[in-house]
Amino acid sequence: VALEQIRKGSTRTVLLRLLQEEPKYGYQIVQELEERNDGYFEMQEGLLYPALHQMERDGLLTSEWRDANGKRRRKYYLITDQGRKALAASVREWRAFTEQLERFLGGQDACGEAVSG
């Protein structure tokens, strides 16, 4: 359950990080998530869109429909300045969190403590 919550909590950061590189459309985002994380961030693909739309309403993203040559039109999502700032803040928070957690877990044999306690 905790892992699921961490995954959910990091969805925004992951999406902002992907869109920081270049504008992408929904299916492309899902594909890249699969390729880069071996399915770790796998989700029901339809639920990607409520997340993207909420981020757009929050001003972190904008979107535009683009025509691809001879292919179907696609809605591309672009990161905004506000989105970049939110990503930077989020990355700082995650780094501080993981550093503290690592320091805590690395300083003792967590499994041994649990067993002997």
Binding site: Y27, Q44, E45, G46, L47, Y49, K75
Partner: protein
């Protein structure tokens, strides 16, 4: 096995309460995703029918996806919630008036150092102040209605529609004996009648002139058809007047705190309604706000009369005297207010496509 069209039809049905333009865009985006995934699977050697079924299944259950999308697109912003709350905060302003009255009288009697209250303020407060406060509120409500009209009746504007209409009806039945308006002095037993409808007519004419279209009215009708809780919210806009009128025969000073409480509860209901993205929480927000405000005002009103000698009872008013009337009256008001909201699930069930 599931094909793309039935899946998208189920999704479209689940998004039925959204604006048609927004819904069409979402469906186009989702259809593109399903087609892209199916293309990729086919390119990897998966058979045609299996590729489409697998693509659709990876999208997740349409009810769940539609609910999450509704939650995003129907949830109002804090600014919209504040705009919707204004008519309910107006009730609080009315409630504050007698308290202001008391404060000014205290300042006049025992003037604080450096604070001089002009006698004209006192005269205004005890004379035409309440009247002009009502006129000001009416104008503010019509202004809100006008902004809502130009913006094609978003959800927050619904209480303005209900409140402006009810306020006009109330004014039509009001008598202001001796008041001169545009050279006409109101006589005894003379009511505002048709004159009360003039401000609303002017507001409507101005809106039509500004928008040069009846499109906002069509959008209003379409919005109500898509989401019947909007009608409930418009009627909920009548609650401030209903609660205020309940204390008609009661000392305004006594009523002030109860009205302030009712104003806060109704405002909370309106804010939760606008910020909610789903029908059920919305209906519950209105029902909760209405019930809490009506219980508070009924208790306040009943407690006021307990033990008093009145012309409508033989002896002193017993504690249970108003109870039956309160329950019946507020149940009727609640049913009328909530009837459109309660019809939403029934309508959804009727409209649900029968495809598997």
């Amino acid at each position: 096995m599931r094909a793309a069209k039935p899946y998208l039809d189920e999704l479209a049905a689940g998004l039925g309460s959204l604006d048609p333009g927004v819904r069409a865009e979402i469906l186009a985006e989702m259809a593109g995703h399903v087609a892209d995934r199916a293309d990729a699977l086919r390119a990897a050697g998966v058979e045609e029918g299996t590729a489409m079924t697998a693509s659709v299944e990876r999208m997740g259950e349409p009810e769940e996806v539609a609910a999450a999308l509704r939650d995003v697109h129907e949830r109002g912003t804090w600014r919209e919630a504040l705009a919707a709350a204004m008519p309910f905060l107006a009730l609080g302003c009315f409630a504050l008036f007698p308290l202001l009255h008391i404060a000014v009288r205290a300042a006049v009697r025992w003037p604080l150092v450096g604070v001089q209250v002009p006698s004209s303020v006192w005269e205004w407060l005890t004379g035409r102040g309440p009247f002009w406060l009502m006129v000001g509120t009416h104008v503010a409500l019509l202004a809100g209605l006008g902004v809502g009209w130009v913006k094609e009746f978003p959800r927050w504007s619904m209480p303005y529609v209900g409140f402006a209409l009810l306020f006009t009806v109330l004014w039509a039945a009001a008598a202001t004996v001796g008041l001169t308006v545009l050279g006409h002095t109101f006589g005894h037993h003379e009511r505002w009648g048709w004159r009360a409808w003039v401000p609303l007519a002017v507001c409507v004419a101005a809106c039509v002139l500004v928008t040069r279209s009846l499109r906002p009215l069509r959008r209003l009708a379409a919005g109500v058809w898509r989401d019947w809780t909007r009608v409930s919210f418009a009627m909920y806009g009548a609650m401030p007047l209903l609660t205020w009128m309940l204390f008609d025969e009661v000392s305004q000073r006594y009523a002030a705190l109860y009205l302030l409480g009712a104003s806060a509860l109704l405002t909370a209901g309106a804010v939760v309604y606008v910020l909610s993205g789903q029908t059920l929480p919305r209906a519950l927000a209105l029902l909760g706000g209405m019930t809490a405000a009506s219980v508070l005002t009924a208790v306040g009103n009943d407690l006021y009369w307990v033990g008093r000698l009145t012309f409508f009872t033989r002896g002193r008013v017993p504690w249970w005297f108003g109870l039956r009337g309160d329950v019946i009256a507020w149940s009727v008001v609640g049913l009328v207010l909530m009837a459109p909201a309660l019809l939403v699930p029934a309508r959804r069930a009727l409209e649900r496509p029968r495809t598997a």
